[in-house]
């Protein structure tokens, strides 16, 4: 029986090729007279027939290879993709005015999922040995500056000094909020897993997520500004100490009495901790003075303090929910076994329940982290900076390239964080559960 020519095709690779061929008919680059003007689209063959032809040939031979060969062809394809972008941008800008811009368009973007699929197919066949070409090709393109003449890179040139600071601020805001959310969310999750009486914890953290960020900032501005003026660092620490003591004493009276004290004092603690964390992590120098107003320590109505507080509140839900789910999933038999060995409730929690719950807790932290990286962009609304600054300025100014300068790093950071925390989660999972 004659072999049919398409019988051995990998479906994932076929999808990649379909997408890749489609990109050649879509506009790749938009040429605009200025950064805010409407653009004219140029498709692959209109930009540079040579690179486009090479790319077409590579897409056409991709289905008839396998494993490492497929990875190599896809890597060459990425190089051709970048070469086409660089050559096309050069050609378009060569005959255009001083302020003309070249922006990425649909065909260029769609190339990314197409190559992702191609590498995925190669990975399934040949593992990591088949896909080393992906990072190498990407690094080569960055090294030769294939994207240097695209709009977002030009925007980066104009904002270079701010970009580093805003990126640092973004990471510091994210880091402060996540650390704080873990420190608060995990105990809250443990509390929430202790029977039906504490179901309200998840309800409250869920409710917090529904408050629009701009409204939250508006609500926080006046009270935070007031706090920053009337309290000094020593007074704030004093209030925290007295509050903790009072909450402990009121435990006899009932949960609600504790909450009445713990909520405002806890919020003050969060504000203070958030501002100090950001001061430690962020680019703005931290000045601590015991008896100066809190504004000296970074607690202010605008800036990092309200931003970190809001981001922390938003990040609580996934962590609380993950912790609770993890603890509730621990089987009663294991608890019984622990108790049978004579463990106290505290030992049971630390040595049996939490280690077993850890994978789900980490899932919650990962969810919170990816979410927070994205929504940290709202910090720019309250003067805390971060990559949202460029997004906001870009939207306001009608300059899509500036929006991309803020948005693309956020996406990359989110992917990177996801990858990193997945790995951490794997390390932290006890061997017996793996």
């Amino acid at each position: 029986m004659p072999r049919r020519p398409f019988s051995g095709l990998n479906p994932v690779a076929s999808l990649a090729v379909g997408l890749g061929l489609l990109t050649l008919f879509l506009p790749w680059l938009l040429l605009k007279p200025t950064r805010i003007s409407p653009g004219v689209g140029y498709a692959a063959f209109g930009l540079d027939p040579l690179w486009a032809g090479g790319l077409l040939a590579l897409w056409l031979i991709l289905p008839w290879s396998k494993g490492a060969r497929r990875g190599l062809i896809a890597g060459l394809g990425v190089l051709a993709w970048g070469g086409l972008i660089a050559a096309g941008a050069d050609r378009l800008l060569g005959s255009a005015g001083e302020f003309a811009r070249v922006s990425p368009a649909g065909g260029l973007w769609l190339g990314i999922p197409a190559f992702y699929l191609a590498f995925f197919a190669a990975y399934r066949e040949g593992g990591w040995r088949a896909t080393w070409t992906a990072p190498v090709a990407g690094a080569v393109l960055l090294w030769v500056g294939a994207f240097d003449r695209l709009g977002p890179a030009v925007e980066l040139g104009a904002w270079r000094s701010q970009f580093g600071t805003e990126l640092w601020r973004h990471l510091a805001l994210f880091g402060s909020a996540l650390i704080q959310a873990v420190l608060i969310g995990v105990p809250l999750g443990i509390l929430a897993s202790r029977g039906r009486g504490f179901n309200w914890v998840v309800g409250v953290t869920g409710f917090l997520q529904t408050i629009p960020s701009l409204a939250l900032f508006g609500l926080l501005l006046a009270p935070l500004a007031w706090l920053s003026r009337v309290l000094s660092l020593e007074a704030a620490l004093g209030i925290l100490g007295v509050g903790a003591l009072l909450a402990r004493l009121l435990r006899r009276v009932g949960t609600w009495a504790v909450l009445v004290v713990a909520l405002p004092v806890g919020l003050l603690g969060m504000v203070l901790m958030g501002a100090l964390l950001f001061g430690l992590l962020g680019p703005d120098p931290l000045r601590l003075a015991w008896n100066a107003p809190l504004s000296q320590a970074g607690v202010r109505g605008i800036g990092a303090a309200p931003a970190v507080l809001a981001l922390t509140l938003y990040a609580l839900l996934p962590i609380v929910a993950g912790t609770r789910a993890g603890l509730q999933a621990v089987s009663e038999d294991l608890r019984q076994a622990g108790r049978g060995m004579g463990m106290s409730p505290k030992e049971l929690l630390l040595r049996v329940e939490l280690p077993l719950a850890l994978p789900l807790v980490m899932e919650g932290v990962r969810g919170a982290a990816v979410l927070t990286i994205g929504i940290t962009t709202i910090a720019a609304l309250i003067g805390a900076g971060g990559l949202g600054f460029f997004i906001l300025r870009g939207v306001e100014g009608g300059a899509p390239d500036l929006v991309l300068l803020g948005a693309v790093p956020v996406i990359l950071l989110a992917l990177l964080t996801d990858l990193l925390l997945r790995q951490v989660g794997r390390w932290l999972t006890p061997k017996g559960v793996r």
Binding site: P38, A380, G397
Partner: protein, 304 residues
């Protein structure tokens, strides 16, 4: 050795005396706000102030609240915005809001009660306007709002892109319609909720959904770059929006030199100058700080 020591002490004292402030300055997230804010920063820093740069940090409501609550010390604001938004209890005559000098005097007087001092305003009017594509303006002879009214009343095709605010407020589109005697039907409006002028101007430039007129501001940098022209308002239908620095009274009293330093800077900022500076940021994509520095140096307001 003693001489070195004495020199160091003198240097330290000199630096301590020379460093005034810190002054926290802010602005709204828009092009003109960023340029004015950077000018203020550069001039104050050049004259020995320590400046906290919080330029471009929020929308009007947030920035104003930050000023009144003492989070920032000064920011550029518009007389027209103050008249329409900051004094809800006051009944201000529409004629006052349309006269630059009277509007400024009124705002200055009223805001002093809130503890806010208005420095001298720039002789520019960044007010509402309607912009149309240049090709249409040339073909139909559109120069003023009166021409536009005639064009609309003749039943020729028109579609205006605007924000909800521009359509709803009594002192924007409705004021134009009343003074010049025309009325746009709902189907002649394309409302971009929360829309800003760059978006409406882009819609008019691209002819999105048949749009051929756009809400604009007088000193927008993008109007010319997008091939539009702003129609003039000879009868003064809408409020005057002059930019000026608003300063907390405590700070203005402590450092009277802020007014002395900044008033000459603002005095030089006419409409043409401002829209040229705005265009360098909005259209050419330059950094507001660079644009402000180049301008100040070219005018001798900052030592090169």
């Amino acid at each position: 050795m003693n001489q070195v020591f004495a020199f160091l002490v003198a240097l330290g004292m000199g630096l301590a005396l020379a460093q005034k402030g810190p002054i926290t300055i802010g602005s709204k997230i828009d092009t003109e706000g960023a340029v004015l804010c950077q000018m203020t920063r550069l001039v104050l820093e050049a004259n020995g102030f320590r400046v906290n740069d919080r330029c471009s940090f929020g929308p009007t409501a947030v920035v104003r609240k930050a000023l009144t609550s003492g989070e920032i010390d000064l920011y550029p604001e518009y007389t027209g915005t103050a008249i329409t938004q900051f004094f809800p209890g006051q009944k201000i005559d529409a004629a006052v809001s349309r006269n630059a000098a009277q509007a400024y005097a009124k705002v200055k007087e009223l805001d002093l009660k809130n503890g806010i001092v208005w420095l001298a305003a720039a002789p520019a009017n960044n007010t509402w306007a309607i912009a149309v594509p240049k090709a249409l303006a040339d073909k139909e002879g559109l120069k003023t709002m009166a021409d536009f009214a005639k064009y609309v009343n003749a039943g020729k095709p028109v579609k205006l892109a605007a924000s909800q605010e521009f359509v709803d407020r009594d002192d924007a589109l409705k004021a134009f319609e009343k003074v010049y005697g025309f009325k746009l039907k709902p189907e002649q409006l394309l409302i971009l909720p929360g829309g800003n002028t760059t978006q409406t101007e882009q819609a008019a430039a691209q002819g999105t959904s048949g749009v051929n007129a756009a809400m604009a501001y007088g000193t927008d940098g993008g109007i010319a770059a997008l091939g539009l022209v702003a129609l003039t308002d000879p009868k003064g239908a809408v409020a005057v929006y002059q930019p000026a620095l608003t300063v907390r009274k405590a700070v203005a009293d402590k450092y009277p030199e802020i007014a002395r330093l900044m008033n000459p800077v603002f005095a030089g900022l006419g409409e043409a100058t401002l829209s040229k500076l705005n265009a360098q940021v909005a259209v050419n994509g330059k950094n507001p700080a660079d644009v402000a520095r180049d301008y100040l140096k070219s005018k001798g307001l900052l030592k090169p």
